[in-house]
Amino acid sequence: MIDPSGWDLPSLTDRWRSATPFGHVAIDDLVARAALDELRQGVSKEPHWPNRGEIFEMMASGPPQQPTPRAFLEALGGPAVRDALAAITGYRLQRVDGNSYVYLAGSYLLPHTDHRPGVDRRIAYVYYLSPEGAFTGGELDLYRCTTDGSGDIVATEIAATLAPRPNRLLLFDVGLTTLHQVREVTGGARISLAGWFY
């Protein structure tokens, strides 16, 4: 389903390394049009449950049960993609996980880092499924953080805003200060697959 042999690795590597405020890169047109359609159908059949907490409100699936989302995750975590991502990011990756998410109007994910002590998340990813114009809002903001001598974050500013384009895979670094948010969706349905490489 995902063929990284056509990726321009030197360019993607350069974009990852030169990205600010921290490593990130977008890979567009990730899968073929027919595969995208099948993925959309597969995700639409996954049950999604209301999910509300301190920093988020959206609908989330469990681990995918439908064949096409499962095949997507298998391809994403397969050796060809992991090798390509190792070349781009410098990380040796072992596996990937992911769920699907539906953000309706009023859904959001507030600024946070995906870093968890003892959990070896190296790269976070989001893959966008919604057709062009299917929703408004839902951009991914990356923050530049200023820390004090003890490592505490004392100032933050949005340094990059990444558009949630259909069939786009966004990858970004996971660390103590890799703050990011999903802006509130203001209309429509933002549907994505997201998770981490370990």
Binding site: E54, I55, E57, A105, G106, S107, Y108, L110, P111, H112, T113, Y143, C145, I153, V154, A155, T156, L179, Q181, E184, T186
Partner: protein, 162 residues
């Protein structure tokens, strides 16, 4: 423990207080992984504070005022556990949440948690006073105000008593 007293402040009292706060001016606070809201530059309102302290004393035990903060939240605002953990007194204390808002939004609740499970909510109920016993492990966050609040504003006074 939570005790919620309804209709402690009238519509007119709340409107007068909000006007006083607006006149004193607001300071914006924006630290992405902690909070996004405004606090008023106004000082203490001695008569109101005495009345609230009396209410708290009758609800709990004899207490003294330790700190206060006037807060305003609009769409897009929030306050997270990380901020509460840094800001709160480390020892057990009593907290009063006084809702000065013009109207209920059906949103904007304060959530109290032990860091894992949600233990209880304080609803956004204009004119109400919530009295909360806060042991050291009880943390609080202010839920993000999404588009459902439209152009409503939530005004609160928070008193720290011990």
């Amino acid at each position: 423990m939570l005790a919620l007293h309804r209709d402690v402040l009238s519509t007119d009292e709340r409107a007068q207080l909000r006007a006083t706060l607006d006149a004193a001016g607001w300071s914006a606070h924006d630290l992405a992984d902690r909070l996004h809201l405004a606090t008023a530059n106004a000082g203490a309102d001695d008569a109101l504070f005495a009345r609230l302290l009396d209410l708290a004393n009758r609800t709990t035990r004899p207490l003294r005022l330790r700190a206060f903060q006037w807060l305003r939240l609009r769409r897009g605002d929030y306050q997270l556990l990380k901020h509460d953990a840094r800001e709160r007194p480390p020892a057990a204390h009593v907290e009063l949440i006084v809702d000065l808002s013009a109207a209920a939004t059906g949103e904007a609740e304060l959530v109290y948690t032990d860091g894992g499970a949600t233990l209880f909510y304080v609803p956004q109920l204009p004119g109400s006073v919530a009295v909360i016993e806060r042991p050291p492990a009880l943390l609080r966050y202010q839920r993000y105000l999404c588009l459902r609040v439209a152009d409503a504003e939530v005004h609160r006074l928070r008193l720290t008593l011990a």
